[in-house]
């Protein structure tokens, strides 16, 4: 037995050492929303290279992905994020209010309301568009199944909900009652709600469920690239919503880890032309006008509502997505 214990202890010590070796280089934990995996893979590589060049220091950025609302709750519950890059401002507001990990005016720290890029919601349909889905109203025809994530956990799902609402509101003869009826009808056509955008994409593309996917613009392009451009196509509706995914340093956590400087540099990096170019290449709409113009072909112009029309996120969340809000009232699964 002793012949086993000795080497085993040595191995254990080695493993423990190996496991904590990277602790030498600073680690940033970026808690992000669901579809940004490929984006941040590219961005992080570029930032690490730039950082090394500027400071001769290494930095490792760890990623966590999930539905924006779920990630927000996770950070409140103790997920040790240095930086959050979520789908909408409310999810970061919640961290500021409930866990007091960053100041209430966090959104003013960075340009463009702390959103280095924007996006919108589009439809992904099967190749050939057999169900002839061209606009929001086509989603509620009989026999059409729509896939979208759960607004309770996903940021993209909330943007999609608001986009649908705005469409019905601005349609000829539209009013609040009609908007509510339309959105209720829409969700009756949804067979399953995944917790995040990537889950819904997989349900649609891999599990073959649904006729249309309400998707982030960038996620739709990625699906074409990865899941087969010969099996799906993107449909731009007549109107959608301007989604502004914000970023912020979780100041209390960063201070505790001693990563404040590099965290700030990381977020500022997202606005640089090099980063904006990477974002555009991944089909996120860059803020930088030069880069946007260079990629204009990838980003069709459609009428985009904004969150301001809904009175800001605090009001929108309370009215639509909080417990007992309009979403809870209209969505009863299994009926």
């Amino acid at each position: 037995m002793s012949k086993i214990i000795g080497p085993a202890l040595v191995a254990a010590v080695f493993l423990l050492g190996a496991a904590s070796a990277p602790a030498g280089t600073p680690h940033l934990l970026n808690v992000s929303y669901d579809p940004t995996r490929e984006l941040f893979k590219a961005l992080n590589a570029r930032f690490a290279a730039d950082w090394r060049q500027q400071t001769h220091d290494s930095v490792t950025i760890d990623m966590s992905h999930g539905g924006s609302g779920a990630q927000s709750r996770a950070v409140i519950d103790g997920l040790d994020a240095d930086v959050v890059t979520l789908a909408l401002a409310y999810d970061i507001d919640a961290i500021a209010q409930k866990a007091k990990l960053l100041p209430a005016d966090w959104q003013r720290r960075l340009p463009d309301d702390s959103a280095p890029f924007t996006s919108t919601i589009v439809f992904l349909v099967r190749k050939g568009n057999p169900k002839h889905i061209h606009d929001w109203r086509d989603l509620v025809t009989s026999g059409t199944a729509v896939v979208t994530p759960n607004p309770k956990t996903s940021g993209g799902a909330r943007w999609a909900f608001l986009a649908a609402w705005a469409y019905a509101l601005h349609a000829p003869g539209g009013d609040t009652a009609k908007a509510r009826a339309f959105v209720a009808d829409l969700y009756h056509h949804v067979p399953v709600l995944d917790s995040g955008a990537r889950g819904s994409t997989i349900t649609f593309t891999r599990r073959g469920i649904g006729d249309a996917l309400l998707s982030w613009e960038n996620e739709a392009h990625l699906a074409l690239k990865e899941a087969g451009g010969d099996r799906f196509e993107i449909v731009y509706p007549s109107a959608s919503i301007l989604a502004e995914p914000p970023v912020a340093v979780v100041e209390a956590n960063a201070a505790r880890h001693g990563t404040t400087a590099v965290a700030n540099a990381y977020l500022k990096f997202l606005y640089t032309p090099a980063a904006q170019e990477i974002e555009a290449a991944n089909f996120y709409r860059p803020r930088d006008p030069t880069v946007l113009a260079a990629h204009a072909r990838d980003f069709p112009t459609i009428r985009l509502s904004t969150i301001r029309e809904f009175g800001g996120w605090q009001q929108a969340q309370r009215q639509f997505f909080a417990d007992g809000g309009i979403f809870d009232q209209i969505y009863k699964p299994g009926r």
Partner: protein, 280 residues
């Protein structure tokens, strides 16, 4: 399942030392790692109140998920009962080339991580998979349907039945059967009247174990299941969904139901075991 052979009692004097220490340590570990967490699970749902718990557990989506998990496990266990019996019998009674390899393969579901089994089954039965392709030509869709869930549950339950039966078949020997044969009974009759009753207890134990394991299975199922609420959504997945929505009490309610049912089955199995051991 653990059966302790009767050891002759020597009064209450403990001849061997270390009983207190070992028992104490065992109880301590059990308490901290197993019992206290399960107690938390038992307590949490009641923050909803009795009515709340009942409402949470009888919601249509929850009932559908529990039905799929428990019912699917039952169907899979039944299939394993038949096929497991065939496999166990064959491995014990017959010789054929490569038998050792096949015998070793039986334990694969024990040794293989559930996530690996999950992606493997999902790839195997998808539309361009080795099995999914031919099956889809026949019009049978396995991946992302309840059928896929069944396949995964059969996979992970098989070794329980086979491994429980094998030693019993082996020990049973051929004497009773040979005696019945010399008395002129036909093979089918021998099987039904002599062999099967002797093996039934072990078969039931194995099926029970396979069922209990299948009820709680998560990793091998979620990749091949459609995860459609009311249709192909298993109970463990629903628990995770509720957790993600931070409905801790609702998740705990489902977990509690699963726990109570599973524990009941174990208790019954252990009692059956004890009775059988006493009778032998």
């Amino acid at each position: 399942m653990v059966a302790i052979a009767d050891t002759p009692r020597r009064g209450t004097n403990r001849v061997l030392p270390g009983f207190g220490l070992s028992l104490g340590f065992t109880l301590f570990c059990l308490a901290t790692i197993v019992l206290i967490p399960l107690t938390a699970l038992a307590i949490r749902p009641w923050s909803l109140g009795v009515g709340g718990v009942i409402a949470a557990v009888t919601a249509p989506r929850v009932v559908a998920a529990l039905t799929l998990s428990f019912g699917g496990a039952a169907i899979a266990a039944s299939i394993n009962a038949v096929m497991g019996f065939v496999v166990a019998w064959t491995l014990v009674r017959y010789r054929f080339p490569g038998k050792r390899v096949f015998d070793a393969l039986i334990d694969l579901p024990f040794a293989l991580p559930t996530a690996v089994a999950g992606v493997a089954l999902s790839a195997l039965y998808s539309e361009n998979g080795w099995l999914g392709g031919p099956l889809s030509l026949l019009g049978i869709k396995v991946a992302y349907t309840p059928l896929g869930v069944l396949v995964a549950l059969i996979f992970i339950g098989l070794p329980f039945v086979v491994r429980t039966l094998q030693p019993v078949i082996a020990e049973m020997g051929a004497d009773a059967e040979e005696a019945a044969a010399t008395l002129g009974a036909a093979p089918a009759r021998i099987f039904l009247r002599v062999t099967l009753p002797a093996l039934l207890p072990a078969l039931l134990t194995g099926v029970g174990l396979a069922w209990a394991r299948a009820v709680g299975e998560y990793g091998s199922v979620i990749f091949i299941a459609g995860n459609l609420p009311m249709k192909s959504e298993i109970a463990p997945l629903l628990i995770i969904i509720k957790l993600e929505q931070f409905d801790y009490a609702g998740a705990a309610a489902i977990g509690l139901v699963m726990l109570v049912l599973a524990f009941t089955v174990i208790l019954v199995l252990n009692l059956v075991q004890a009775r059988l051991t006493a009778r032998r």
